[in-house]
């Protein structure tokens, strides 16, 4: 027989605040809250006293004032008469640009190196291990400086391309590598080019629709439609036909040496290239390790089982190995993307006008609004980071192993 003892009915005593687990948690939380409030109050009163002593105040008025400095790379309209806010927007767009470019190339580098690290070729394996170890163990800041130095000190000046027997020539007649940056041909949008682009966008949607339809057909009826060639055809043919129907509205503008510099085409400045390349090759080494770990995490039995079911090697990879490996690869990959975005703030070293260099650099120094600038800067990065981690959580929940 079990006898249930009554729960203690003793009335509340102050000593229970420490000894009884029911009340102790409340005690600790009250203490924590009190400490927090005290800390905030202490720091806040110090801040107020210091600001009063320095004759400063917190105000975001300066954002509307003219910035008064030039920015070498602007993707949106900007002059030195534009406001500080506009300069910050230029910086934000530049940050996003270099982060996006570096994410794409870092993924390419990382996947190639990660797959090659598992190659059965001894030499290639060792070379890739060397790449990963060297780039992971040396600060990205040094890599940015080294690549920036290569861009500015080792590349020829535009004047080297001058004359009948120039010291340097343009690659393929259209790419010029100079110490002011790389010049590449840029597109020229003629009348009707919008229609061509719209056709292209429609074709991309068409490809997805076709693949969905083919998969559905496969699951419903077991009929297997060819995937690769129809996709390529849907993607390219309508656009090419439309391009010629509209009378070739999109042309290329080649860079050419005029005066002291190249004109025409697109100039990719040396700072952007240094930052882009350094971030992608540095982060690529980390991604390579993720990719390797992800592929190794799929046990051999999985691919053997798939082969035993009669799947061809391509399908084994696509349907069995990759979905499982991606579950391991994607979360660290996304946090690497986050690292790229945060490391892009090192742009200030090479004079690339990202948000840290405009808002946190020149604007801060010119207006002296240190607190406001740094707070806005942190807010921007915080929004980006939290946004990316939200995407990651959604992905993690979607691919979580459904366990009971």
């Amino acid at each position: 027989m079990t006898t249930f003892s009554d729960p203690p009915k003793a009335s509340f005593r102050p000593s229970m605040l420490l000894s009884d687990t029911r009340y102790r948690s409340i005690t600790f939380q009250v203490i924590a809250l009190a400490l927090l409030v005290t800390a905030i109050w202490y720091l806040g009163s110090n801040l107020a006293a210091n600001l009063r002593a320095a004759g400063l105040n917190i105000s975001f008025q300066f954002l509307g004032n003219p910035a008064g400095y030039d920015i070498n790379q602007t993707l949106i309209p900007y002059t030195s008469q534009s406001s500080n806010l506009q300069a910050a927007w230029v910086g934000i767009i530049n940050t996003l640009l270099v982060s996006f470019l570096a994410c794409v190339t870092a993924t390419i580098f990382g996947v190639i190196a990660g797959v090659l690290r598992l190659s059965n070729n001894w030499l290639v394996r060792k070379l890739m291990a060397g790449y990963v170890e060297i780039f992971r163990n040396i600060p990205v800041l040094i890599w940015i400086l080294i690549i920036y130095t290569i861009m500015t000190a080792a590349m020829p000046a535009p004047s080297a391309f001058r004359g009948d027997d120039p010291a340097s020539t343009m690659m393929l007649g259209s790419f010029a590598f100079t110490n002011r940056g790389v010049y590449i041909p840029g597109p020229v949008w003629g009348p009707g080019s919008m229609i061509v682009m719209a056709t292209f966008v429609a074709s991309v949607i068409g490809v997805f629709a076709y693949r969905r339809y083919a998969t559905k057909l496969l699951y419903d009826t077991g009929r297997l439609l060819p995937m690769l060639w129809p996709s390529v055809a849907i993607l390219l043919l309508p656009t090419i036909i439309m391009f010629f129907i509209m009378g070739m509205p999109i042309g290329l503008d080649y860079p050419a040496l005029k005066g002291f510099n190249f004109r025409g085409g697109i100039q990719i400045g040396a700072p952007l290239i240094a930052l882009w390349f350094a971030l992608s090759i540095y982060t690529g080494a980390f991604i390579a390790e993720n990719v390797r770990a992800g592929i190794q995490a799929v046990s051999r039995g999985q691919s053997e089982a798939a082969a035993a079911l009669g799947l061809r090697p391509g399908r084994v990879m696509n349907l069995v190995v990759l979905p499982q490996a991606l579950r391991v690869i994607i979360p660290p990959l996304i946090s690497n993307y986050l690292n790229i975005t945060k490391n892009s703030s090192l742009a200030i070293l090479v004079g690339y006008a990202d948000i840290t260099a405009t808002l946190g650099g020149i604007t801060l120094n010119q207006t002296g609004r240190a607190i406001e600038c740094v707070v806005l800067l942190m807010l921007f990065y915080l929004v980006i980071s939290l946004g990316i981690s939200m995407v990651m959580n959604v992905y993690n929940n979607a691919t979580k192993l459904k366990e009971r």
Binding site: Q29, N46, I138, I142, L145, S345, L346, T356, V374
Partner: protein, 432 residues
């Protein structure tokens, strides 16, 4: 079976033949080369491409490296010696050696002090890193921070001594009370330490000698690779306990404590270190009492410690989450309270799981200490970009300097990661 043929076999060998050498095609170096470098056509092409790439790399760098000039006093002199040949000007390293290691303001007759501190660091770190060493050595590890502080900054010896006394007093109070309640012991220890520090401040002021044994050196005079090492070691060791506390806070069931920890961790992890350094540089001074004048080094240490403790907290949280629930339940069923369960059961295991992650964070943090050059502290990168490359003698010697800095970081970071792999094997208790 053997009986069946006992009469039909005339001869049975009683000892085994020595093994014959395998045929050439299934063993030896040729076989290895064929299997590992040229198994298929595609692989052979890959090998050739890799060999060509290696050739390009070595052909480009070897003459430059081997033909290096080690004894010239300026770049122009170095170019004269080279006389148009390809070669490195390593003389910048030999001439600016001390600047690269100690910065350009540290008094040159005092270089022995940071050097001694570095040597002692190995002695102090040894018992922490290698658990087979005698535990008595940990006493020296405990003394080391105060000793190193005194060696590097100099000044009156009473500061470090009273700091040490405070810690000792706190520890004594803690160990007396810890049997009764961990929380009370911790609070008592902190109070005792603060009292000793407070009193010691007055006594130290009274005892201040006219000329201290070691010349006082302000922290703005620190620089070079020494600064990177100091920031890295200080911030990692400070952020470990804070990281543990944050991780436990984030795991706890108390909503307010958990909320504070989550907001702190997510905020710090969401912003780049460089913005935190901006805070240290331009903003943090506003949060101290007016006129306190906390110097830049300490402000940077505060911000980097905040930064790394958030990351370490996340790693340890991963370790805590990876522990089977049974461990928590077992600790509960033994009747241990929260502090005992954490100290005796949960944390030792969780920390073991977290070692690779913590080492990764430490390596990353050590590399990130170069960022302080952005806020005009003269660490090794700051020295290279500032005083050395700006000087007329060495304007234009990029590669040698960057290579030297890379080499230093590579040695330290690679060494740490090799150590962590060794430790993982050493601590592996599962039977695999």
């Amino acid at each position: 079976m053997s009986d069946t043929h006992a009469e039909s076999i005339a001869f049975v060998r009683e000892s085994s033949l020595p093994p014959a050498a395998p045929p050439d095609k299934v063993g030896g170096p040729l076989k290895w080369v064929k299997d590992n470098l040229f198994p298929t056509w595609a692989n052979a092409i890959l090998t050739l491409v890799a060999l060509y790439f290696l050739y390009l790399l070595l052909a480009g760098s070897l003459p430059w490296l081997l033909n290096g000039v080690w004894s010239a006093s300026s770049l122009s002199e170095c170019r004269e010696i080279l006389d148009g040949a390809s070669g490195a000007c390593f003389s910048v390293l030999s001439e600016r050696w001390h600047q690269l290691l100690f910065g350009f303001k540290y008094p040159s007759d005092q270089y022995w002090r940071p050097t001694l501190a570095l040597v002692l660091l190995f002695l102090a770190a040894a018992p922490v890193l290698f658990i087979d060493l005698p535990r008595k050595m940990l006493l020296f590890t405990g003394l080391y921070p105060f000793l190193a502080f005194w060696l590097i900054w100099g000044g009156p010896i009473w500061g470090p001594i009273f700091a040490l006394l405070g810690v000792v007093a706190g520890y004594i109070v803690y160990s007396r009370l810890v049997q009764k309640s961990f929380a009370m012991a911790l609070a008592g220890g902190i109070v005792a330490a603060v009292i000793v520090w407070y009193v010691g401040g007055f006594i130290g002021e009274a005892l201040r000698p006219a000329s201290p044994l070691l010349e006082a050196i302000p922290s703005r005079d620190l620089g070079g690779f020494m600064l990177n090492m100091m920031l890295g070691i200080t911030c990692v060791s400070l952020s470990l306990p804070i990281g543990i506390a944050l991780a436990l806070g984030r795991q706890s069931h108390l909503p307010i404590v958990k909320g504070i920890c989550v907001v702190f961790i997510e905020f710090v992890r969401g912003v780049p270190l460089i913005t935190l350094l901006f805070v240290a540089n331009v903003m943090l001074a506003y949060f101290f009492p007016p006129g306190s004048g906390v110097d830049l080094f300490i402000r940077v240490v505060i911000m980097i410690t905040m930064f790394s403790s958030a990351y370490i907290a996340e790693v340890i949280r991963g370790g805590l989450a990876a522990l089977p629930k049974g461990q928590y339940e077992a600790a509960d069923s033994l009747g241990l309270d929260y502090a005992q369960a954490m100290r005796l059961i949960i944390l030792p295991q969780a920390m073991k799981i977290s070692i690779p992650g913590i080492v990764n964070i430490a390596v990353g943090l050590f590399k990130d200490t170069t960022l302080v050059s952005v806020i005009s502290l003269f660490d090794i990168i700051g020295m290279i970009r500032g005083p050395i490359l700006a000087s007329t003698d060495w304007n234009g010697v990029y590669w040698e300097l960057f290579m030297f800095a890379s080499l230093l970081f590579f040695i330290v970071c690679y060494g740490i990661s090799q150590y962590s792999q060794w430790l993982e094997r050493r601590l592996a208790t599962d039977h695999r």
